[in-house]
Symmetry: C2
Amino acid sequence: MAFDPHAGGTPTLEQVAALAGVSRATVSRVVNGSPKVLPDTVAAVERAIGQLGYVPNRAARALVTRRTDSVALVVPEPDSRVFSDPFFAGILRGVSRTLAPTSSQLVLLIEPSEGDDQRLLRYLRGGHVDGAIIVSHHGRDNVLQELAQLPLPIVFSARPIGVEVPVASVDVDNVAGARTAVEYLLSKGRKRIGSIAGPPDMTAGLDRLAGYQQVVAEAGFAEAVAYGDFTAEGGEQATIQLLDEHPDLDGIFVANDLMATATLRVLSQRGRRVPDDVSVVGFDDSVVATTTTPQLTTVRQPVEKLGSRLAELLLAKIGGADLTSPEIYNTELVVRGSA
Amino acid sequence: MAFDPHAGGTPTLEQVAALAGVSRATVSRVVNGSPKVLPDTVAAVERAIGQLGYVPNRAARALVTRRTDSVALVVPEPDSRVFSDPFFAGILRGVSRTLAPTSSQLVLLIEPSEGDDQRLLRYLRGGHVDGAIIVSHHGRDNVLQELAQLPLPIVFSARPIGVEVPVASVDVDNVAGARTAVEYLLSKGRKRIGSIAGPPDMTAGLDRLAGYQQVVAEAGFAEAVAYGDFTAEGGEQATIQLLDEHPDLDGIFVANDLMATATLRVLSQRGRRVPDDVSVVGFDDSVVATTTTPQLTTVRQPVEKLGSRLAELLLAKIGGADLTSPEIYNTELVVRGSA
DNA sequence: CCCGAGCCGGAAATCGATCACCCGACCGGG
DNA sequence: CCCGGTCGGGTGATCGATTTCCGGCTCGGG
């Protein structure tokens, strides 16, 4: 037999009204904090609510108010690896921390399988949520563009690639962060600095590479770049390739920590000491930065802060604010053992 | 001005009916896949739905069906560090993979602040979701007990501590997993095997410790245990303490990978080579297991599988199945460099 | 003591989809 | 030729909370 929500008798507003000796409307006013109800009445209603353990029926309320009191966190990629990404975890923390004191609930939305964009879009267009936060890494197709044009308050984490309309977004200054990292390597006397870059279809990949290129060019050195995919395996491949092509490197800027762990491992296998022979700087300051030997010098992004800003901006947009510009945060170099 | 969901005109079932030249009931039948509608009619309705871009109003439906088509993933702890836990990430992946093809949405529920249990319980009791998956690590208070007694389909990840009523749960055999790890150390000729245990208020902590203790006792060796809290910092403290008290250890079983990374680091700082002088085995096979040097030999749990079973069981319970017993999965030793 | 202004509480319509029930048409058999 | 059964589809009540519009109560001033 199926579960019956009526078991135990979910009390309705009507029953509360009866018990408190007032009308439904009055109970509604109390529940929604209307100022024009006598204190005594409020007390009576609240007592009744307490006695019955009344909880407003969200569906009924949503039906008339046309608000669902829930926002979506959208991951428009079937590649559910993002969950394992410490960056995503941080965002999630920030978002949920900001949403917690609110009446809004967080709904997780993932593109179930490759190319099933429409399901996502339909859901969002269906008015099931009051707004959405898009956490996208790749910009390989046009989903982002479609999302941006939805008649729904939306904010992006990271400036979306290939989206023409202005959108609200929250991000760190990846270029500046990368510059800091490479400049630090320079300040340590490194002359031959290479970089393991991220995929060119992610802004994080592009911008961090750009920062590296700028500094290296300004210093009058030559570039040495290999591309990874932000995973440990990809980082390993890229590091091997980079070292094979440029055996004389004495400094490496790796576009994220996970790949950097692989870089450290490959260097160690090749008998090159870190940081004595080669200095390594990562990006993210994720958990893995402290699991390596030596620990990783890396560029910290205020992930949790990003997440909470994302939520704040979305709530503001839902409230009617007209926000359509990016908000950029600073990074910070965390010096540990690897450089 | 606040966002108006009516902008663009959300079509209702009524409008679809009008366009298709049928009644609301018929449209409803088509939408819900009733078999007793003529194919021609179905086609006409579907055409109208397509033209209007109709999406059923969830609130209205929920109001009458008394189902919300959403399930909660509950983290009854304000300590949002769980998000960074690769274990949690895996569970999340499994759950969302199973839920994706379903009409059910995933709602994330976190205890906003210490002691705010009531908010959670009220929400769950309020019929806002059809069921809940509880991902709890600690068993320090009685929230779990209260959750277990809620008139709502619920499944637990990991056998909850201190819950007297029988509940459905999914877990790995932590005792057996720990045994495998310690037996492997024995098979490598290790004689003085210590353990970094998890907190005693988590089943994972208790059971893994028990597995260690069993094997060590059976082999006639003495115990050497220090307690950590499953974080890298805690692992470092515990490792230092353990090594100070038992400098002659030649094998260490660490109750999770994160702490094991710290163990490796401390050993390296003390000039003890791994695995030559000391062998180390972790537990989880999380991402960090491959970021260390040497890479971590560890006990793999099928996390994603656990997550998807959690979701499957919950859907079954929502469907009326009467499940009140634990489901236990096996672990697997993954041999890498550290032992 | 009476009257009016201001407030507060009640009745009823409404949101959009579901579902129990009912109706009409068409078929075949007696 | 009539009647019952079947099948496709329509009608209207209903879910629970909000909200507008009013009616009536209260309280202060004259």
